[in-house]
Symmetry: C2
Subunit: 313 residues, 2 copies
């Protein structure tokens, strides 16, 4: 069976995986991301890691379908990257660059959130379904849309930027993007902590959260699970906003399944049951509802998706 490489290029480390064509990962490892000098060493470091692994395993070019790579920024449909702040890159074509360094093997490049969504669709929470929307609740809200087993990246690379749909026109504070009332302002780890502070300030209701110096999303989940009513209302509000956002995805592309990942998703069905209930409210017009599942690949979603991307080519 032929093999391929899945590479998840982040601002601190490069996660790498050697895969069988059928989705079995044979080996996983990491190398540091050297961002100095505008990231000029990144591709050659990756190429060396790939070539070393091929030598170690006795693989040559014909054994390899190619390499997929997810990068933390927008990728144009032709693979061009105009700016990738976390890596220091400007005006590069990393796919072509890496392919040249690897003696011409096929290389595919995609945005990391989209690539992780493809991983979850292929071997994770969305396995068995061709059309999947995968949402990651971390510092922000990431989202990738997979239709017919392929990433939808959009004509400007902003497909799946669900974190910045305006759900609340009445918001007064600004989101990082410059707008107000974006979904990720409420539905993310940061958003849950923000809502907790707001709920605490808005009432005198008793809550274990009042004793904490710095409130995290995990604190809120833990408190809610332990029966803290204020913490529970914070999660209700956050999942209500998220449900509204997911309903937009349904009414635009109608995926079979939603997959929710990221640190916050560790709260599992305790959180997702709230999300499902609110989701049903925003989609009264659809007789049947998509499943909303927890992501299963964790930090490996990126290498799986990157591998799948090159196998899909």
């Amino acid at each position: 069976m032929k093999k391929c490489f899945g590479i998840d290029l982040g601002g601190t480390t490069v996660k790498m995986g050697l895969f069988e064509e059928n989705g079995v990962v044979l080996e996983k490892w990491e190398i540091p991301t050297r961002t100095e000098e505008n990231g000029k060493y990144i591709l050659s470091d990756i190429a060396k890691a790939v070539l070393d692994k091929m030598a170690e395993k006795g693989l040559n070019g014909e054994d390899i379908v190619g390499a997929g790579i997810g990068i933390p920024g927008p990728v144009m449909p032709d693979g061009y990257v105009s700016a990738c702040v976390n890596l220091g890159w400007r005006n590069v074509n990393p796919g072509k660059g890496l392919s040249d360094l690897l003696g011409g093997i096929s290389v595919c490049v995609g945005n990391d959130a989209n690539v992780a969504a493809l991983g979850e669709q292929w071997q994770g929470g969305g396995k068995g379904h061709d059309s999947v929307a995968a949402v990651t609740l971390g510092t922000g809200l990431g989202c990738g849309i997979i239709l017919d087993g392929k990433i939808v990246s959009g004509s400007r690379g902003v497909a799946g930027e669900l974190g910045h749909v305006t759900v609340n026109r009445d918001e007064t504070e600004k989101c990082n993007c410059g707008n107000r009332g974006c979904l990720e302002f409420y539905a993310s780890a940061t958003g849950i902590a923000r809502l907790a502070k707001r709920h605490l300030a808005a009432s005198d209701e008793a809550s274990v959260l009042r004793g904490l110096e710095k409130i995290t999303a995990k604190d809120v989940v833990d408190a809610a699970k332990a029966g803290d009513a204020l913490a529970d209302s914070v999660l209700e509000e956050s999942m209500n906003w998220l449900a509204q956002g997911l309903s937009f995805v349904t009414l635009v592309v109608d995926p079979e399944v939603f997959v929710v990942g990221g640190g916050v998703s560790k709260a599992g069905d305790f959180l997702l049951d709230k999300l499902r209930r609110h989701y049903n409210h925003y989609t009264v017009m659809t007789a049947t509802k998509p499943e909303i599942r927890v992501a299963t690949l964790g930090n490996d979603a990126g290498i799986y998706g990157a591998a799948r991307m090159v196998l899909n080519m």
Copy 2:
């Protein structure tokens, strides 16, 4: 050059077109839609019209690529229609039925709003672009999403149901769908008339609209164009809601172009300039913006899209 038929099946008439493969329409005609006895005559009427036209033009099966047909209701990915209220149909597979009546030529079936969007993408306002979102402002708000030149119909047939995204959680009146605050409640011919009544009731501001017994969207557009400030503020509000809805489409699938059709779109750039300005507000995070254009095929969009659908097969 081979030919094909494009059929737009409505509740009152069936619009039909004979097309060249390159998109040139050779002939257009209509037959009545006989909805009696649960629409049992509809497909045989259509088949007779197709066969008569083939005989008239001296065409036989080998000259025809097939027939596409748009129907006013949801169509499952396998062509199955569980209910089409306007036609009286329940649990039918109209594509298979029509193909059998036509001696086995290929037949494709799609939802009429999606099919019309495909027509606009192929030969109308979106010509020259592969990914287009087409919005129709009529009694309601219809929308079709075209990616890579293909209709996105979704796993439950609700892709493009943009009329029912919740844009205003504070709405107190119910939409037809049972929910509150749906986009089409504000952004449609009916929606514009509704907002006009609300604006009139909310102030004593002078307006030519006060003299009218029944206010239509056209009255509002005409008054605004003539300098009526209240009418203008009604259109501003309606286009602000629509802009928010279009921004959802961008942040989910990021089409190259938006095409706006339906009766209301006859207001042209006077209306679309308002839409463009509000749209830019909701998409501050995207450096470049898609064009927002007026639809050009009018009532023929359905037959064009139906023809394209079968040519795409």
